[in-house]
């Protein structure tokens, strides 16, 4: 590593001045925030976002010309970004690049941002070609982490993090072996109770029931897939599922175990046994306002910070103390980008406002509003609870096709950046 300078303080403010047009804003923001965390995980550095006024580190996207930067960019490819050394604080990205997240296409914003922040914090280029601080972009890595040379460099500037904490969950303990499950019948999305709902990567909403999962959008629902065909190693009949845009992690809960995935890849070492929260959770969701994961069971909830030690002895707290008007023991819960939280139970769902109070007019029908199910007609339904032949045929065809291990789950589900809802 090479050292170019250092900040005279360890608490730094940052401001995101604009975002790329190629990513949803919440995805781009999450990528940038994660980039800071790579460095704060291994040093005593702390970062605080400000929305207005001056900030120590300022991130922005500009094109070939900029009124505020003398270093022009060169269009797609070649130069991707640049940054100033301490204590200047400018971090600039080429807005002409195809900035992406969670895919091998384009340029990964999170990794490039982490690299440029390395410069802003005082690191020069590393001669280790596999280090984050290598000058050439090495491409997207699903399990990206800092190279030992990156860690050694930044710790040479700011010291080690004290106390040294692992970037792992506090609530998990020993590794357990995956338990195989027997396949259950294909569920009817228009009837029955959901096991779990999740607003996943790419802004897709997933519904889980039995051994199957499908996506739901404003315009309709997608075909059913075996859960294990998309998330290899994951059983069906889940208790809860939650995706954290903060860490890009997906957590699945069943019984006393938790599975962690990044996109469709299980993180090594999982599943693990839940240690400090109750087994058999009812529901889980991520609340964007405080960046915490909420875990619900019975009449209580746990609030979990993925990246900081949590005093779980304070939990469970009564659900009624925080959520007003919700049903007890929901079967699923999910939050949207706008901060609204949805609770699901039986055939109904409840929408909560930002004050976590159930809004007027709820509960409403899950089948009608979420699953786009319409009143049954003789042409559409053979008998109660059985979907039409064409729908079933399409579903079966798709379900069989995803057993082909050569198929990519992103492609099958239309999660490539070209797909739009």
């Amino acid at each position: 590593y090479l050292l170019l300078g250092r900040w005279g303080k360890k608490h730094l403010t940052f401001r995101i001045l604009n975002l790329p047009s190629t990513l949803p804003s919440h995805v781009a923001r999450a990528a940038l925030l994660q980039a800071f965390q790579y460095w704060s995980n291994v040093t005593p550095l702390t970062f605080q976002e400000v929305k207005t006024g001056w900030a120590d580190i300022r991130l922005s996207f500009h094109g070939r010309q900029s009124l505020y930067c003398s270093n022009t960019f060169d269009g797609p490819g070649r130069v991707l970004a640049h940054a100033d050394i301490p204590e200047l604080g400018s971090v600039h990205f080429d807005e002409d690049e195809l900035w992406t997240e969670g895919t091998y296409r384009g340029v990964n914003l999170r990794i490039i941002a982490a690299h440029e922040l390395g410069h802003a914090l005082g690191l020069g280029h590393s001669r280790y070609t596999k280090a984050l601080m290598a000058p050439v972009y090495a491409g997207y890595h699903p399990y990206f982490k800092l190279h030992p040379d990156d860690v050694a460099g930044i710790q040479a500037l700011y010291g080690k993090k004290i106390p040294e904490t692992r970037d792992e969950e506090e609530m998990e303990l020993s590794t357990v072996s995956p338990v195989p499950t027997e396949p259950s019948p294909m569920p009817d999305p228009c009837s029955g109770e959901l096991d779990a709902m999740m607003l996943g990567p790419g802004g897709k909403t997933y519904a889980f029931k039995g051994d199957y999962v499908w996506t739901v959008t404003n315009s309709g629902r997608g075909p059913l897939f075996r859960i294990s065909a998309l998330w290899e190693g994951l059983p069906g009949n889940l208790d809860a599922a939650v995706y954290s845009p903060r860490t890009q992690r997906i957590y699945f809960f069943k019984g006393d175990k938790v599975w962690r995935y990044i996109n469709f890849k299980m993180v090594p070492g999982f599943p693990r046994k839940l240690n400090r929260i109750a087994p058999n959770l009812d529901a889980a969701f991520y609340w964007p306002f405080n960046k915490k994961v909420f875990l619900l069971k019975g009449l209580g909830y746990w609030q979990w910070d993925e990246l900081a030690p949590v005093d779980f002895s304070r939990y469970p707290q009564p659900i009624s103390s925080l959520f007003t008007g919700v049903p007890p023991q929901p079967s699923a819960a999910v939050s949207r980008h706008d901060g609204r939280v949805y609770f699901f139970k039986g055939k109904k769902y409840w929408r909560l406002n930002r004050q976590l109070r159930v809004e007027k007019g709820y509960p409403r029908s899950i089948a009608h509003d979420w699953m786009h199910c319409h009143p049954q007609t003789p042409d559409a339904t053979l008998s109660s609870g059985v979907t039409t032949g064409s729908v079933m045929k399409r579903t079966l065809t798709t379900t069989l096709s995803v057993t082909d291990p050569t198929l990519n789950a992103d492609t099958v589900l239309g999660l490539t950046p070209s797909a739009t809802d």
Partner: protein, 79 residues
């Protein structure tokens, strides 16, 4: 003047990213020895075969997307 465009681009790359330093005095002309020395530093830093010649692997490496900051690599820093 005799450089083909690909070689010009390589020279520009070496200059832009700090492998070639313009002299403070005298003509801004790099000698073949300067260029070979810069290419060797670039190849060594890029974990490429070190020849001092602009071969295909070196050209390909120079086309890869990268950070806009200069590299600190020269024979002294690499040593």
């Amino acid at each position: 003047q005799a450089l083909v465009p690909a070689e010009e681009a390589a020279l520009e790359y070496l200059f832009q990213y700090g492998y070639l330093q313009k002299p403070l005095e005298g003509p801004h002309v790099f000698s073949p020895e300067d260029i070979m020395e810069a290419l060797r530093a670039f190849q060594q830093a890029s974990e490429l075969p070190v020849s001092g010649w602009l071969d295909d692997a070196t050209r390909a490496r120079m086309r890869q997307p990268r950070c806009g900051l200069a590299d600190p690599f020269n024979q002294k820093s690499l040593k």
